[in-house]
Symmetry: D2
Subunit: 158 residues, 4 copies
């Protein structure tokens, strides 16, 4: 398991996402509810979320689809539909439910919020995707899900 976790972290890094990037979003979501929340607490919570088997599966699947699309390996028209992240294509927002559902309703509402406000690395991935430099159609939503789940985890621990 621990080795699968390391693979997930390595793959995220290759796609431009560090645990610290996600932790910064968690901090932004949660600091106002705590007397003293540190970025280390947030890194720890993100790390715990990424250790879960369901989360690892979601991360690896999302990145695999994004990369296959980048290399035009999928059939048309679905390769283009995913690459363009069409507003009526909603599968990328469904896949993160495998993460968010586990962490309860706080994770679920934070997910919808982050999907709109696109803090930090989420906005960066979205921008790279829109400029067609890379395909992050699935990954940006997975990062939203990990951040909102790590935030929910902190809220429940309090």
């Amino acid at each position: 398991m621990s080795s699968l976790k390391n693979i997930a972290i390595k793959r995220l890094k290759e796609r431009g996402v560090e645990i610290k990037d996600i932790a910064e979003i968690v901090y932004k979501l949660q600091y106002k509810y705590f007397d003293k929340l540190t970025i280390e607490d947030c890194i720890d919570s993100v790390s715990n979320v990424i250790a879960k088997r369901e989360v690892i599966n979601a991360v690896l699947t999302a990145i695999a689809i994004d990369e296959a699309v980048e290399k035009n390996l999928l059939d048309e028209p679905i390769n283009s539909i995913i690459k363009n992240d069409d507003s009526l294509y909603g599968i990328d927002e469904i896949l993160p439910l495998s993460i968010v559902n586990i962490y309860g309703s706080i994770a679920f509402t934070n997910f919808g919020y982050l999907d709109k406000v696109k803090y930090g690395i989420i906005g960066k991935l979205d921008k790279l995707g829109k400029e067609k430099k890379q395909c992050h159609t699935f990954l940006d939503d997975i990062v939203c899900a990990i951040a909102s789940s790590a935030a929910s985890r902190l809220a429940h621990k309090k």
Copy 2:
């Protein structure tokens, strides 16, 4: 069916929620994606959402629970848990899934967003609940769900 819809609208009104209040939230969510979106378009979309049997059921159930809690008709400790809208009580965010799920992923992400930013009537219901003047633990989330679904409906029709 149409008579059930009228009952739902009447009950919403009795609890302080007019269709126009919800339409204003829809407008705020959607106007930037349209060349010319009118408040009438939004009223029409909200009205269509409230006509659905699942939505009527959710509205009537939510209001029935809130009112029972206001009158202290439920057993303790659940009556107090609902009245205080404890941050670890998440059933009120689950019930709206019966509405939001039907309208796809745009409805689902808008729901999480509205639950945080609490535009217009949503914030008003939340405030009345926190001041313990009324119990709107379930209704405020149902209003979020109707608004986000009506917004998703407009996005899909475009």
Copy 3:
């Protein structure tokens, strides 16, 4: 927390549901996947599920609604709609998502299965509800959710 768990167990008992009843359903779902699964393993898994705050909230809310409906405390027409467990009334199948989602996709698919086959105590609650002796519109689905979640928990631990 532990005292809330005891209240949930006590309330289930008052409504005719013992932990052992739920454990028997878990056993029926899982014994074929194990070399040696005991009813004690199943009781232990059910007990762990019921310890979760989200599950306690769902149990207490479901029983509170069922009892309020039995005593005709809710407004019409929703009191009768819930009492008759109309096939187009689906809120009782939404509320258990607050339990089932936490335990992943095995819990989710088992839930749908149990809702159809109605093993043991689930069928008994359903029958009492249909005979209008008691209202178990919400409770029978919550029991499905606890059993399927306890089964999923065992599958993940294996």
Copy 4:
């Protein structure tokens, strides 16, 4: 849109799934609730479900992943995890939520049921996958979702 629907039907056929195969499952689920249900009614309902944009997206995405896995185009270890349809890999049961959610709670519970009993073409796809002749990890669950949604649609129309 209509052309996208035709592409979805063509792709299903190439993977061994005819509309009639799905309609037979719908019939098996629903005939006992109707005085006179024909296989044509079921074909019509399946056809209506497949016309929805969300369903088309889910069908095309699922088949694209299955085929990419068959050709070993995805990175390891995720290519093997999907190919083996590991019992702890649950992403294939999450993706169908994009279909099932739209059709309400009857669709959702039927989905879990079909995932267990694997009627007709669902069992056939599952068997081909287990024998490693083809990869149907995602498609079998999508077929479950279409059948349960078409069944729910008939129940609501009644």
